[in-house]
Symmetry: C2
Subunit: 335 residues, 2 copies
Amino acid sequence: MQITLKTPLDMHLHLRDHEMLQTVAPLSAETFSAAIIMPNLVPPVTTIEEVIAYKERISKATGNLNFDPLMTLFFKNDYSYDFLKQAKAHITAIKLYPAGITTNSESGVSSIDSENLRHTLEAMSELEIPLCIHGETDGFVMDREKEFVPIYEDLAKNYPNLKIIMEHITTKDSVEALDRHPNLYATITLHHLLITLDDVAGGMLKPHLFCKPIAKRYEDREALLKVALEAHPKVMFGSDSAPHPQHAKEACGCAAGVFTAPIALQVLAELFETHNKLDNLQSFISDNAQKIYHYTPSPKAVVLEKKPFTVPETYDNVVPMYAGEEIAWSITSLS
Amino acid sequence: MQITLKTPLDMHLHLRDHEMLQTVAPLSAETFSAAIIMPNLVPPVTTIEEVIAYKERISKATGNLNFDPLMTLFFKNDYSYDFLKQAKAHITAIKLYPAGITTNSESGVSSIDSENLRHTLEAMSELEIPLCIHGETDGFVMDREKEFVPIYEDLAKNYPNLKIIMEHITTKDSVEALDRHPNLYATITLHHLLITLDDVAGGMLKPHLFCKPIAKRYEDREALLKVALEAHPKVMFGSDSAPHPQHAKEACGCAAGVFTAPIALQVLAELFETHNKLDNLQSFISDNAQKIYHYTPSPKAVVLEKKPFTVPETYDNVVPMYAGEEIAWSITSLS
């Protein structure tokens, strides 16, 4: 059995910087046409110069792999209309982090409400710059995303011309909010389609499956699977592939993030095939995102075949999901 | 500020075997008069000979520290009345594990209901051998204990003369069940009085706080704190101190268990003092258990003082709770 995926897009990707960038950027660039690049470096990407410089470092790391890094700014509430107008030529979206909610988000926004952010959000609406949000409160870990849904809805209602992307959604509540507001969209990761908290902490504790937002309940995973498999038009694939060195994962305090970039397409093929929905994978992996972001990628085709592939134990010092395990699908050619 | 605790008892303790036993047994024996010793060795302790031999190994490891290991058998549904009658001279209780629910519990009971276990439970009732239970189903990790409460209640109703100890309870539901049945009792650990899932997985992932049952929600911790601080007469301290070598905790798959034995009394003193309940600590740490188990320990007195103590980073290769941190109370003398 074979499938050809045209111009796969990863609408939520962490490439980091320095050595890690050299390790992981080529792995995404090989199989994806483009990706939304998250700006939570240390320090975060907040100026046009930083965007341009980071994009250059990514392009250098990915060489001639025909990969388009879609850049983002780290949301700051003091971005002016004029600044954003200039920035628009260099970025695809702006990413908003609640302060301290995940890796390198300390300088995020501490009070998110529609009034507080009016100046910047009105400018973004007018300039048609999409707003990507990591939607979690600082509440109890299993409730953080659920508690954020009213904040998404407040923003969606107050800025009807702003495209808001609920990033890496993990709960039934978020899925349900999608259809209540025309300007709410969502990315879904690979791992949240596959695991629940039981996989992270139900048997042995699995640091390599620990991520933010944390994997939730079975009913949440079901709700995510449903909209992904049907390729709901407001839903896009965003891996949130988030590499950390092995020593930072298998440690006294383990960093959040699952590294899925090099196995995402293969495992998605397996998942969609298992549910008899292979026909919908093209929309989930690229077409929906193209429409939502008004983006046309340059041509790329990935041929996948149902043929076992043993996932490497590590890519340099990064442990991928399914490390050392056999998965059912392989990539057989790229063009 | 000082407090003297008489004959502290740890009503739920893992001492393991071999080298680990040599490391951890003296640490408990130094400050506790006695402890209920869990039987989940590999293979589990299921014969009188094994009980006697394990007790001898413990006594050898604790030397002249004036410590009474209260032995348990690993529950098997084929224990006969005659066997149990013989065993009674050597054990204090029998510990029931649902199959596969925690460390070394693979040979536990796969179907727990009052009819299925009638033969053994009637014998235990008649012989007045308490039944200690690890009460978790194989459901979703956050629901396992809640789902087990009806099983506790079924057993309590059907065996009114059987003393049932709900071990290491972690939820509001379990606390509430305590008062509905005269023959239900509970142990509570130190760590479940202190942490919630937020401490394990809300920031960085903390393998040294990963245990079974997993720490729950704030309202659960509040319910546990309430009955511990008031020294509810059906509640006893049981540390569930469960050592694993550091490499088994900071690993790709981390074993369940928090190692608290050497700091339990100091941190309990701090906790009870903070809540202005120091007067109740003696009941929680010893008197309640003496009444519930009809057990009189040989004299021991531990003097604690409000004076900072820096917890060692490790005890041999075992990382304790609060490793390297300063806690507010110290043990100043033992007699």
